[in-house]
Symmetry: C2
Subunit: 202 residues, 2 copies
Amino acid sequence: MQHPDSPKYQQQKLSAIRAAAAVFARKGYHGASTTDIASELGIKQGSLYYYFSSKEEALEQVCLFGIRDYVQRMEEIAASEQSFEAQLMATVTAHLSSYREKNEALKVHNDERLYLPEIKRIKLKQMGSHYRELLEGIFTAAVDRGELRASLDCHFAAQTVIGACNAWGDLIVRDHSLDVFEVIQKLTDVLLFGFRPQPAQA
Amino acid sequence: MQHPDSPKYQQQKLSAIRAAAAVFARKGYHGASTTDIASELGIKQGSLYYYFSSKEEALEQVCLFGIRDYVQRMEEIAASEQSFEAQLMATVTAHLSSYREKNEALKVHNDERLYLPEIKRIKLKQMGSHYRELLEGIFTAAVDRGELRASLDCHFAAQTVIGACNAWGDLIVRDHSLDVFEVIQKLTDVLLFGFRPQPAQA
DNA sequence: CATTATTTCTATAAGACTATAGAATTACGC
DNA sequence: GCGTAATTCTATAGTCTTATAGAAATAATG
């Protein structure tokens, strides 16, 4: 009934989170059963409750796992004294690399988190807002430095970057044959210069 | 047991599709029960089966409703002899306006269609592919005309437009206070020119 | 008004799902 | 090897869900 704090337990719990992430990503939170998750992990349905007190807690853990280190990385990017271009490239890289590494969990965070009750969503919401604000800050700083036009709507720009990254992240998760670095390169380029310029005015 | 083909029946069936779209958009396909849909429509659970033979068919109808006229509009845009900029603006406008008009159904199409069995997805997949190919064609034509740089990856570009529109469409559905035309304007501008240029080089 | 067709309702069968309790098994320390 | 703790299993209660069948109600027609 009670959980030890041994590294062994923690390790298996992590496996359980990964298994839940994989199943939630494939079937959605409500479409996935605890039997599915357990069998992905190689145990029986009832045994899963040794690691999660409820299916909902499993979702919460997956979401937290998916977004963890995410804000942290953005903090570092925002604090770095780089050109806007470098910061944007770093942002896209961090975002899409996350999708590649713990792809299912991040996808679950984006698609299923709103099925958590308000209370359990607060922490996630704070992390997400903070992330967006940091990105927005990168834009406003670049405008102040004169690297971007003064008329730019930074809130809109940040949302667009996040949206585009998530869209491509979804494609990356689904189509594993995609070259992530190629996507990073092209997406950064489009965001910076748009489709318009004849040759990239390097 | 058998359905009439009266306009009255068709009208109520449309209401049922809209009700299903609203509930699916809010709770997801698996999270929504037929009781939810029925009560949204103001009838009892069992009565719903007068209009749908199964919950799955309801999802199929919602998805088809969501994407209907969608490809058609893109056909028109692709056939029109306009500048690339005008065509891109028209595409973004059509896409986001769809979200505004029958917002829930299009959202459901994007988020839940993959829960349909392979067979029922074929038609949707064809429509989606056709849509993307038409958009891709607009890009290749613009490259041929010299309006866009020859090095542009048109497949990538089309996916990015669709992804960005869907991302903003989701935000529009969730936040009803957003000014759609402002989003259309800004998104088109970013896609065309990127964040970079100091003033928009009209 | 009476007859028929349409629409909705009630009741229920059959199955799936979450979560719990206690037994069985496996791993660990000595 | 033995005793104890950690982990997994079996079995099940209780709830919810989809879909069906037939009765009841409502609307349409002559």
